[in-house]
Assembly symmetry: C2
Homo-oligomer: 410 residues x 2
C-alpha cells in the first residue's frame, strides 16, 4: 500500500514540537511551541518553493502562484494548534497533507492556472481564548475585530498583546478576506468519529458540518444545612440543573432528527459538601445539529423549559451565550468532485456529516467548501492515542491532490 | 437580662485557640489547636476542683464526684473541635456551658448524690477521618475498635498514630463505656436552625434526633466528543446522576413525613469540558429522617430506582455506604424535665426535632438522653458569623444547671 514517507516524517517532526512529552502533543496558540511550529512550517514551505505570509491574526498562507494569479485561488488547509495532551493528527493531517499534495503536484510538473493556497488557521482550538476557530471566524467576518480585541486569556492577556509579541502586526480589521478571494476550500481531516473505520472505508465525503450552540448557565439558589432545611423550603440549584440536563437530552432526542445532540459537559456544584444544599451551579451546554432550524427549535424548547424550571424552584438564572453559529452545507459540486476522485482512485467512500467543529464551518461562509475525512483508530481524538495510519493518510492526500489539480485548472 | 460573664470570657478565650484568625475558628482533631484546647479545658476543670481524665480515643471526662460515686452518673457535654472556618459556639456552648453549670452548682453549695460528668467528645466533626461523632460512636459501641483502627486521615495517618502522639494511650477497646455508667445525658447546643429565633423562643426541647443515611455513588459511563456521539449511543454518567438526584428529592417529598430530607450536596463531573460527554460522576447523598423506618423506606426506593436508571442508561454503579445510623428518640421523662425547668425559669420554649447530627445520637444508645437548644442568629452555623447572644447562652445554661441539679439527687 502506498504511503508518503516524507509526510509521515514531517508529522513526527511537528509532533515533537510540544509542551508535553510524546505521545502527547500540546501546542497552545502563541505559546513557544506554537511559534516554533509556525517557523518550522514556513521553512518547509519555502524549501518547497512556495511563498509564505501571515495575516495580523496569525493565519499563515502558503501560496503556490498560478499562471493567472488574479483569479480566485483554490484553498486547502487546517490547523496545527493542539489542546493540552492531544494527539498528532487532528488538524496536522490537513496542513502537512495539503503541503504534501502541493509539493507532489509541483514535482509532477503540474502548472496550475489558479493559485493554490494552503492555510494554517490560527487558534482553531479554544484553549487560550475560549473561542474555537478564531482565525477562520475573523477571515469570514463571523467574529468582528472589536470582539476579537476584547478577548482575554486566563492570565488576562489580550489577543493584541499576544499576537504582536508573536510578530503578527497590523490591524485585525485586515484579517477579513475580500469577497471572491477563493474559488473553493477543501479541508482534509481525520474523522474524529468511528464510522469510517467501522465501515472499512477510506474516505468520508462531508456534506454538512454541524454547528454547536453553546451556552453557560449560572444558577443561584439558597444553600443551607442538609439536615436543617425542609424539602418544601429549599431552592436547590443542583436540582434545577439536573432537570435542565434531562430537558436538554429530551429536546435533542425529540427534535425529529437523529443528528441533534445535546450535552451538559461541564457541571460545577457549590459549595460541594455532602451536608450542604447546593446554592450555586455552573453548567455549560452544547447543542448541535446539521440543520439550523432543527437546532434552534430544540434550543427554544430548552430556553422555555429552563425558565419554567427556575421559576418553579425559585432559582435565579444567568443564561450566557458562548456561541451560536449556523451549521454549514458543503457545496454540492465540490462534494461530487471529492466523491469522483475517491472513486477514480479505487477507494471506498461514503457521504457523511461532520459533527465536530472545523474551520470549514466558517470558510463555507465565504466560498464553496467541502471536507475530506480519513479514518482514525476508534474515532479517538484530542488524546495522545489518536491515530491514523500512513496508508489512510496517503489515501486522503491522494484525493485532495487530485481535487486541487482539477480545481486549479478550472 | 442575666448573663454569665466568666463563661462569655471563656468562650472567647477558647475561640482564640484556632488555626485561622478570628472571627473564624478552626480546631481539627489532634491538631496543635485541638491539643491546646484540651490542655486549656483540663486546667479550667482542675481550677474548679473537678477531676479530669482522657480515654484512649481522647474523649475528655471532667468529673464532680457525688456522695454516692458508685451510682450511675449524670452526664452532660458536647465537643470543642471545629471544621475549618467555623464559628465559636457550635459544641463549645455545651462544653463550657456544662462546666459553668457545674461550677455554679458547686459554688451554690449543691452536694450531688450522683456524680456529674462533663464529657468533651473527641472528633464530633468528620474533618480529619471523614466520620462524625467518632468519640461517642466508640463510647456507645456503634463503631468498633477495629473499624476505628482502620481509619486514615487525608495524609494517610492512622487514628492510633495520632492519638498516641497526642498522649491518648491504651487500647481503643477500652473506650466503650460499661452499661449503666450513666443515668442520663443532656447536651446543650445552639439550634443550627432558624426556628427558635424566628419564634422568639428561648429554649428548644429536642424530642428526636434525625440521623443521616449517607452514601457515595460512583457512576461510570462512556465519554466521547459532544459532537460525534449520537444521543442513542450515549452512556452519559451525568444524566444518570441528574435522574438519581431528582429521584432522591421525590423519595424525600413522598415519604409521607415532612421530616424526611434528601440532598445531593457533592457532585463531581468528569472530564468536565463543554464538548465532552461526562464519563464519570461522583455524587454524595445525604438522606435523613427522625423515623428510621420512613427513612429506610425512602432509601430502598432510591436504591431500586437508581438500579433501574443505571441499567436503562448502561451506567456502571458503585454504591458506597458512608454511614447509616438510626435516628434517636429522646427519653420522654428527660424531655419533660427540661420543659418543666424552662417553664419554672419563665422561659419560652417549644419541643422540636434536631435535624443535625450530635453526639447525643450515640449517647441515646447507652442511656436516657435529651438535648437543650438555644437560638442562634438566622440559624447560621459552621461559619465565622455563627452567633448566640450571652443572654441566650445564659438561659440555656440555667436550664441545664437546674436539670443536672435535680437529676444528680434522684
Amino acid at each position: 500500500m502506498n504511503t508518503f514517507p516524507r509526510l509521515d516524517r514531517e508529522i513526527d517532526e511537528l509532533a515533537a514540537i510540544s509542551a508535553h512529552p510524546a505521545p502527547a502533543v500540546t501546542r497552545v496558540l502563541f505559546s513557544a511551541e506554537d511559534l516554533a511550529a509556525r517557523q518550522w512550517l514556513t521553512a518547509k514551505a519555502k524549501e518547497a518553493g512556495f511563498h509564505a505570509r501571515s495575516d495580523p491574526a496569525g493565519n499563515l498562507f502558503i501560496r503556490w502562484e498560478g499562471e493567472e494569479p488574479c483569479l480566485p485561488a483554490v484553498a486547502t488547509g487546517s490547523h496545527t494548534d493542539a489542546i493540552p495532551n492531544a494527539g498528532k493528527y487532528d488538524g496536522v493531517v490537513g496542513v502537512l497533507g495539503g503541503l504534501e499534495a502541493m509539493r507532489q503536484l509541483k514535482e509532477g510538473g503540474h502548472a496550475p492556472k489558479r493559485s493554490i493556497e494552503l492555510i494554517m488557521f490560527t487558534a482553531e482550538e479554544p484553549t487560550r481564548f475560549g473561542i474555537g476557530c478564531l482565525g477562520s471566524r475573523l477571515m469570514s467576518g463571523s467574529t468582528s475585530p472589536d470582539e476579537a480585541r476584547a478577548l482575554r486569556d486566563p492570565d488576562g492577556r489580550s489577543l493584541d498583546e499576544l499576537r504582536e509579541a508573536a510578530g503578527c502586526r497590523g490591524d485585525l480589521g485586515a484579517v477579513k478576506v475580500p469577497s471572491l478571494a477563493y474559488t473553493a476550500f477543501l479541508e482534509l481531516h481525520i474523522e474524529q468519529g468511528p464510522l469510517l473505520e467501522a465501515g472499512q472505508l477510506d474516505i468520508g465525503i462531508v456534506e454538512k458540518i454541524a454547528a454547536p450552540s453553546a451556552f453557560r448557565l449560572l444558577l443561584k439558589g439558597a444553600g443551607g444545612h442538609a439536615g436543617a432545611v425542609l424539602m418544601k423550603d429549599r431552592h436547590d440549584a443542583f436540582l434545577a440543573a439536573a432537570e435542565i440536563a434531562l430537558l436538554v437530552e429530551r429536546a435533542a432526542l425529540e427534535s425529529g432528527s437523529p443528528d441533534t445532540v445535546g450535552t451538559c459537559g461541564l457541571v460545577e456544584v457549590k459549595p460541594g459538601a455532602i451536608n450542604s444544599i447546593p446554592c450555586d451551579v455552573k453548567m455549560e451546554v452544547d447543542l448541535r445539529d446539521t440543520n439550523r432550524e432543527t437546532r434552534d427549535k430544540a434550543l427554544a424548547k430548552i430556553a422555555e423549559g429552563t425558565r419554567e424550571i427556575c421559576r418553579r424552584r425559585g432559582i435565579e438564572i444567568d443564561w450566557q451565550v458562548i456561541n451560536q453559529d449556523p451549521p454549514a452545507i458543503c457545496e454540492p459540486t465540490l462534494v461530487a468532485l471529492v466523491e469522483n476522485k475517491a472513486k477514480a482512485a479505487g477507494l471506498a467512500s461514503r457521504r457523511m456529516v461532520s459533527r465536530a467543529y472545523h474551520d470549514s464551518l466558517f470558510m463555507a461562509r465565504i466560498c464553496p467548501t467541502a471536507m475530506i475525512f480519513i479514518p482514525c483508530h476508534k474515532g479517538y481524538s484530542h488524546r495522545p492515542d489518536e491515530y491514523s495510519s500512513p496508508a489512510a493518510i496517503a489515501k486522503g492526500v491522494e484525493v485532495l491532490k487530485e481535487c486541487l489539480k482539477e480545481l486549479s485548472m478550472r
